[in-house]
Amino acid sequence: MKRKKKKVNLTHLVFIAPHMIIFIVFIVIPIFFGIYVSFTKWDLIGTPQWVGLDNYKEILFNTKSTFNRQFFDGLKNTVLFVIFNVPLCIVVPLAFALVLHIRPLGSKIYQLVLYLPTLFSITSVGLIWIQLLNRRFGLASVMGAKVQWAITMPYAWIALMIMTVWWTMGSNMVIYQAALGSVPKEEYEAAEMDGAGWFTKLVKITIPSIRFQLLYTLVITIAGSFNVYGQPTIMTRVDLGAGPKINVLVQYIRSIAFGSGQSAAGIASAMAVILGLFITIVSIIQFKMIRSED
């Protein structure tokens, strides 16, 4: 008996091909090339020289090395940024979304104003805040806060947080607004009949109802915060003749790879791989949390 040949349907591949091509060319190949470079000495010009795990040992275990100092200083500042930034980038947009959800007068205009900064480039945002916080003629100075915000601790951190929240809150806020719109009104009405106040409704109804959106924004915000680069580079580097006051890990990676002198691309790639692994582990934990909630 002749077996009927099974038809292979490749149509689905056709539809995912455009995205796959972009993904492979701009994500997969650079990742594997970056991992390869992390095992080499390379100045971006000549031929990479294989050094095995030397770069990783230098970064993680050679306490006398500059790269060890830079890595742990950068990691500390990056983790601090994540710790300070993530709660603010969740709570502040949520608060605005809740206020806009009750549709106050001119809510559309407020929504527009709050979302608008998300569309600006980080350079524009940085320049705006540097001017606003200028010690001599900035708005903060006029209001009596005559400190050098961008380079004096702990004000530099405060300035960084204000700028980041202002710049990024629009996208999370829109997600929360959409989620709040889908919470059934009946649940609030039933709760009101039982005498629940606004706080009880928030904790018992609103937050549980939008928990998936909250978890999604949490994952995205944490991953984005670990990759922070633009804000401290522009905000805390007021003098071109000096390094930034707050150095996060991506800044160190960039300056090692693309500084004024010969590149140490192997070391920079090894740092990037370690940072990548760190973000991957954190993301896996978060996705597990989402699944367990599901």
Partner: protein, 429 residues
């Protein structure tokens, strides 16, 4: 049939998008330059530079004037931020696509790029245009391009940094301080209490604080590198003394606060002196109510003056696409720049070519001071080392911390030394 048609259409769509992507990819790889070359049938010399400030207008004028002479290839002026340009160079040189025919780099990059093997010697250019020779340029800056017996660059300017002074404030606080054209450290320290009482800054911390420190260290015989030119010498006694001197000026109340814009302080008559580059000329000329001049970098003693400079230089990056015909036009263009260098002097720069020296207009410009006598010309020093960029980054990382007192000078220089050594150790054999 319908299903089959659908498949064909979607396959065609995907192929079109993939081809589109590949096209985008290849144009990106070769940079902005390939687009302009192909649009003009390849009859252009791609010239990369980083003259994004007012000096860009002077370079554009020079290029326009040259293009009006109907050369076989026109110069295509491609200006971008220095950081972007230096980041693109390894990519285009490695790929061999989109390499500019001619490029401007700062003097510190010449030995670095030469050691990395990405520069072509300029022998052909020098042979074609015999007037492009040491005798027609200032010798010190010409020599920075001479490596291992070959010429790897042709200098455009001297890139001198020096001391701006506010004439009215000098008259008020230190009337005789410029008699010998040198403001000494002792004189600065004498001025500070009087100026401070009126809330006037004596010498602000600036982007060119590094050049000031290097100048002071060189006056005492110090150098960034040992005699071999590749071993960093940042924690030397001379550099420590230099940075300690600048910190003393700061602690005495003579400097600006961290984050202040030094040039704005000067332009607004709020500081007596300011160390900067001659290329700030146009910004200073636009300032209202400012009467200013320029003199030598501060010194320990008037007997020894050093003005540290950052010359811009023409180089040829390795490229197989640079034909003999193009080299002829490049040689013509460089000679045109040499002859018409007065236009570049109008940007405030001190030209490397000496062809403008006889022009009255140049002689009345502040930059002329630095080439007005053999002594002044001899005072100009360049940072031109194979690992100069690595050392620069190490210094910039923390020098302001040392000057503003959040780090000791010893710790700063030891850290910079360590950082430089570690980065140099990362370079292959």
């Amino acid at each position: 049939m319908k299903k089959r048609m659908g498949k064909i259409v979607s396959s065609l769509l995907t192929c079109t998008m993939a081809l589109g992507l590949m096209a985008c990819g290849s144009s990106d790889k070769s940079g902005d330059t390939s687009a302009s070359t192909s649009s003009s049938g390849g009859k252009k010399i791609e010239f990369w530079n980083f003259f994004t400030g007012p000096d860009g207008n002077n370079m554009k004028k020079l290029i326009d004037d040259f293009n009006k002479t109907n050369p076989k290839y026109k110069i295509n002026n491609i200006t971008m931020a220095a950081g972007d340009m230096y980041q693109k160079i390894p990519t285009v040189v490695n790929s061999g696509k989109g390499v500019p025919d001619l490029c401007i780099v700062d003097v510190a990059r010449v030995p670095m790029f030469q050691s990395q093997g990405i520069l072509e010697p300029m022998d052909e250019i020098l042979t074609r245009e015999p007037e492009i020779k040491r005798e027609n340029y200032r010798e010190a800056v010409w020599n920075t391009g001479a490596i291992d017996g070959k010429q790897y660059s042709v200098p455009l300017d001297m890139g001198v940094t020096g001391l701006l002074y506010n004439k009215k404030l000098v008259e008020k606080y230190a009337p005789n301080v410029l008699d010998d054209n040198v403001v000494t450290v002792d004189e600065i320290m004498d001025i500070i209490p009087k100026a401070k009482a009126d809330d006037i800054v004596t010498l602000p911390v600036s982007f060119f604080t590094y050049e000031m420190a290097l100048s002071l260290a060189t006056q005492k015989g110090g150098s960034l590198f040992n005699e071999d030119g590749i071993t960093p010498n940042l924690n030397s006694a001379e550099l420590k003394e230099a940075y300690q001197t600048l910190r003393d000026i700061q602690e005495a109340g003579g400097g600006s606060e961290d984050g202040d814009d030094n040039l704005q302080l000067f332009i607004n008559n709020m500081s007596i002196f300011c160390h900067t580059g001659v290329w700030d000329y146009n910004s200073l000329m636009q300032a209202e109510d400012l009467d200013w001049g320029m003199t030598n970098t501060i010194a320990y003693s008037p007997d020894k003056i050093v003005n540290v400079s950052n010359s811009n230089q023409f180089v040829l990056l390795k490229s197989e696409a640079r034909t003999e015909e193009k080299e002829i036009v490049i040689a013509d263009f460089l000679d045109f720049i040499r002859e018409n260098t007065m236009e570049w002097a109008r940007s405030g720069q001190v030209p490397a070519s000496n062809s403008a020296d006889g022009e009255q207009e140049f002689q009345h410009m502040p930059g002329y001071f630095f080439v007005s006598s053999p002594e002044e010309q001899n005072s100009i020093a360049f940072r031109s080392f194979k690992y100069g960029g690595i050392v620069d980054d190490a210094i910039f990382a923390s020098q302001n911390d040392a000057i503003y007192g959040s780090m000791s000078v010893d710790d700063f220089l030891n850290q910079a030394q360590q950082q430089s050594e570690d980065n140099i150790a990362q370079q292959g054999e």
